[in-house]
Symmetry: C2
Subunit: 200 residues, 2 copies
C-alpha cells in the first residue's frame, strides 16, 4: 500500500474530487455526504472529520475549481506579450478544455445557484468575477480609454458567463472552439470599431 494513500491531504483531495463528480453527475447540490463519501471510498463520519459541516466541504470544492481556473488564467497570461494577446489569453483560459466540459460546467452553474442563498459562496464567486474583470480591463485599457474598457469588460464577462450557462443546458458535448470564436468575434469587433454609444 502506498504510504501517502491514507494521508490527510490525500483524503481531502479525494473527498473534494468525489464531491465534484457527484455534483456534476447529479446536476445538483442536493448531494448527500453519504454519496460523496462512498465515491471517495470512505465513511460519512470521515468526511465530517476532515471538513466539519457539509457546507464546508461544498465550499472547499468551489475553492478548488476557482483555484484551478485562476492558475490556468495566470499561466496563459504569463505567455502573452501584448494587450491584445492578453485579451485572447483570458478568453482562451476561460474555455480551456479542462474547464469547459460538461461536468465542470454543470458544477459552475450549481455553484452560481448556491450563491443566491449562501453568502460564503457568493463571496467566492465575487472574487473570481473581480479577478476576471480586472484582467479584462487591464488588457483592454491598452486599446481604449478607461470608461470604454470598463464597459467592454462587462460585456465580455457577461458573454463568457452566458456561453457557459447555455453550454450547461446544451445536449451535446461543449465545443470550446465555437465558444472562443464567439467571444473573440465580439471583442475584435469592439476593438476595431471604437467605443459604443454612451450608456444612459
Amino acid at each position: 500500500m502506498i504510504a501517502s494513500a491514507n494521508r490527510p491531504e490525500t483524503r481531502r483531495r479525494a473527498l473534494i474530487g468525489a464531491a465534484l463528480c457527484e455534483i456534476s453527475d447529479r446536476g445538483s447540490l442536493d448531494v448527500t455526504v453519504a454519496q460523496i463519501a462512498a465515491r471517495a471510498g470512505v465513511s460519512t463520519a470521515l468526511a465530517h472529520h476532515y471538513f466539519g459541516a457539509k457546507e464546508d466541504l461544498i465550499l472547499a470544492t468551489m475553492r478548488h475549481l476557482l483555484k484551478e481556473f485562476g492558475q490556468k488564467t495566470a499561466g496563459e497570461l504569463r505567455m502573452a506579450p501584448t494587450p491584445r494577446a492578453r485579451l485572447s489569453a483570458i478568453i482562451r483560459a476561460s474555455f480551456a478544455p479542462d474547464q469547459f466540459h460538461r461536468a465542470t460546467i454543470s458544477a459552475w452553474l450549481t455553484f452560481y445557484a448556491k450563491a443566491l442563498s449562501s453568502p460564503a459562496a457568493a463571496r467566492l464567486l465575487h472574487v473570481y468575477q473581480s479577478r476576471l474583470r480586472s484582467n479584462l480591463i487591464h488588457a483592454l485599457h491598452g486599446h481604449m480609454d478607461r470608461p470604454a474598457a470598463l464597459r467592454l469588460a462587462d460585456g465580455i464577462g457577461a458573454l463568457i458567463d452566458g456561453v457557459y450557462l447555455r453550454a450547461a443546458l446544451a445536449s451535446g458535448p461543449a465545443k470550446a472552439s465555437a465558444a472562443i470564436d464567439l467571444v473573440e468575434d465580439y471583442a475584435s469587433l469592439h476593438l476595431a470599431h471604437g467605443p459604443g454609444e454612451a450608456l444612459s
Copy 2:
C-alpha cells in the same frame, strides 16, 4: 367576501405566486411545500390536492414565468414594423421591468440549475430558448444571410443569459437600461460591420 376568493383557479394562482416568492426570497429550490402553503395561507395538504407532487408545483411555477415572458415578447413584437425594430423589441422584452428585477432573476437562475437534474425543467427551458432563438433569427435574417443570422442569434442569446446571470449575483438593484444598452450595442455593431469570421 368575494365569491371568487376560494375558487380553485384562485388557489392555484395563489400557490404559484407563493412558490415564486419563496423561491426568490430563499434563493433556492429547497423550499418546502409547508413554506409555500403557509405563504399562500393554506395547508400543505391543499397544495398537494391541487398540484399532486411538489415537483408539479415547481414546474407549474416555471410555466407561469415562461408564459409571462412569452406574452411580453409577443406584445413587443406586435408593435415592431421593421426587422431592426423587431430586434430591439426582443431585447426590450427580455429586460422588461416586470421580468428584470431581483426576485424574477433569482427564480430564473434557480430554474436553470434545476434543469440540470430535471428533464421536465430542461424541456421547458428548451422551448423558451428555441422561441427566443427563432425570433432573433427571423429579425436578423433581414440584414444578413442565414448562417450569419444563426451565429449572431446565438451570440445575442448568450449575452442576454449572461447579463441575467450576473444580475442575479449583483448586490444592487438590477438596472434594465444598462443591460439593454449593452445588448443593443453588441447587436448594432454586428449589424453595421458585416459578418464576423467564419467559425472553425
